[in-house]
Symmetry: none
Subunit: 203 residues, 4 copies
Amino acid sequence: MPRKGGETSRARLLEAAERLFAERGVKGTTVSAIVAEAGLTQAAFYLYFRSKEAMVEALVNRFGEMLDRYTDAGRQAEHYPPEQLRERVTAVFVGLFELLGRNANLTRVVLQDTEAGERYRNRIVAQIAGNMRRNRSLGIVDAGIEPEIAAEAIVAAVERLVFRYVMAGGRTAEELGRHTAHLFLNGLLPDGGPADGEGARRT
Amino acid sequence: MPRKGGETSRARLLEAAERLFAERGVKGTTVSAIVAEAGLTQAAFYLYFRSKEAMVEALVNRFGEMLDRYTDAGRQAEHYPPEQLRERVTAVFVGLFELLGRNANLTRVVLQDTEAGERYRNRIVAQIAGNMRRNRSLGIVDAGIEPEIAAEAIVAAVERLVFRYVMAGGRTAEELGRHTAHLFLNGLLPDGGPADGEGARRT
Amino acid sequence: MPRKGGETSRARLLEAAERLFAERGVKGTTVSAIVAEAGLTQAAFYLYFRSKEAMVEALVNRFGEMLDRYTDAGRQAEHYPPEQLRERVTAVFVGLFELLGRNANLTRVVLQDTEAGERYRNRIVAQIAGNMRRNRSLGIVDAGIEPEIAAEAIVAAVERLVFRYVMAGGRTAEELGRHTAHLFLNGLLPDGGPADGEGARRT
Amino acid sequence: MPRKGGETSRARLLEAAERLFAERGVKGTTVSAIVAEAGLTQAAFYLYFRSKEAMVEALVNRFGEMLDRYTDAGRQAEHYPPEQLRERVTAVFVGLFELLGRNANLTRVVLQDTEAGERYRNRIVAQIAGNMRRNRSLGIVDAGIEPEIAAEAIVAAVERLVFRYVMAGGRTAEELGRHTAHLFLNGLLPDGGPADGEGARRT
DNA sequence: CATGAATGAGGTTTCATTCAT
DNA sequence: TATGAATGAAACCTCATTCAT
């Protein structure tokens, strides 16, 4: 295990990179900007990372681990009585906003600016779509829903809301989670509202 | 080497840039890659654009005009009887998917990779949120909906679906429009379905 | 002999170049700037000049011819009675300021920005120094004067005064000629003035 | 490849640039030529100067400081008895030729090839002209002298003689100083010499 | 006579990376 | 562990010049 300075420097570099990558993009951030932010020299960078690319990889891995921890934690509660569905979904959204919000820069970098991000996103989408498909066949999800499309929409929305509201501040994960859950579970229209003629509800 | 004429070359450059920018990002695309794709030399690039930056601006403007034309066209049908709401919204989504899908690369570049893109997105979100707020006070939109959040979610979802399905092929604008409309209007849950206990519908 | 447009265009190009070269230097002036100033296209430039360098040569020649005409004109009056020396020298200076002032841009370009200019200057200096040396041996010029140095000083002064006063306006050739003649003939000190003790006049 | 150390490299670059700028002009000298002369790579240049322009600025400043040191040093001996005028002026000229001659390249570059040079020259001219005007009102300088013109002539002559003789070798600062002083103090004509008829001395 | 379109060569500048200390 | 100094490669951009029309 390296001495004090070591871990500290590496961590500082990652932190600085995260911030800058999120702000200016990976391509738009120079190694020299990162080390300046971290209070080190360019050469020091290469003590901790084989290359700029390798550093991006490190961030990607960090993101992956974060996600795995979350997924593992959620695994146990896979099955729950239908009457708790709404609360359950809300809780999942809130948790996600908390998690991603706490790592908003990292999330943005990985998801929007790396090849690996595409893969992560697809994995998440696939998992959600799978769940949804299962729930659809159980009648829990509306038959008119196309899981792939809905999953993609949900992920995109969450991603965006994290950047927009958690990162920039202004909304709590709680708020965002509740409203997002409501939106995706019920849609915009009120129950049996004025625009909702009989039978018209099927697309 | 073809000497077709100015407008043609300029157009070829824009086309090539659009493709490459969308693929590798603006920063990740070199002028030399653009001209290679367009079958020209680097110097020719600067015959048509003051700088790489100026070319991005040209793309941004092109996107803006596209959007304006769409917005103007939609202006006339602002008010419609409630019973047509569903069809009307569906049509808007379909139209949007058609429009953005036809310009998927341009949309991606501008919206995801330029400062101006942020502004456009915010403008669109604001407009949608405004509509939604109005409709909410009319009882057309559920009282539990937070317009800013919902609008942000919708825009993010559309953006993403365009890249995922229209650009890559696999889904028609029609399909996407219908499903997206359904998702956002009704939500995932079925009407009065099993998970939808009495009174539980309110968040 | 080319038609109307022809000579006109060539002349316009030279004129424009003269102005721009004087302002920004030869290296600092692009062909494109020249043709823009002349209201032509780049290709047109090469109808009249083999290259930018060739155009500079043309300007150098034009300067040379100008100078030759002046020298030839002055040739006949080489010998003149001593009592007219002062007036004669003044007249030469005035004439020179008139000539160079009328072609101030050209003079500046050639003398300060071309290899050939160095040669011209050296030729002029040599001629003046020669005259001076002859006059010195005749007792017309002070024995303490070093012709090369004095000639170099005179040429430099004239050159500079042309740029400073004739080109920018503010002094007439007449004024400049009179004052320059006076300065170089008598020097700064007054005749037998206060600072001029007996015998002290020799260096 | 030597890795001597930063200050050395920076100095070598400035030295090389001074030489080349004086020879070929600023515009005519490429960064690549400078670094070649200094035995470095292009990238190294930008370790020490923000741009080529910034390097020119550095040279201009260096010239300015040189001049200031000289001016400050001369300040103390502002007033001196008239009978020492000649020696005093000679000493000033000699000192100037020494100073500028020791920095001939720098002087040439700054004075002939930069905007700032114009300003410096004007400042020097103005100062000399001011002195002269004062001395003229004291009767020390001939009433027929026009200070601006004379000052301009003196500066131009000195500048030129530095390039011609100090830079290229061939004359010492001492020689040049003495002859220049003599020329500008007494003029070309001998005292009461043959060409100096009665009353003709006034222009 | 003149132009619109293009280009090859080369300029300035930036960047990720290396290495001796 | 850290740095100061350097570099090769490549980025963006400019310029003099050419040629088909």
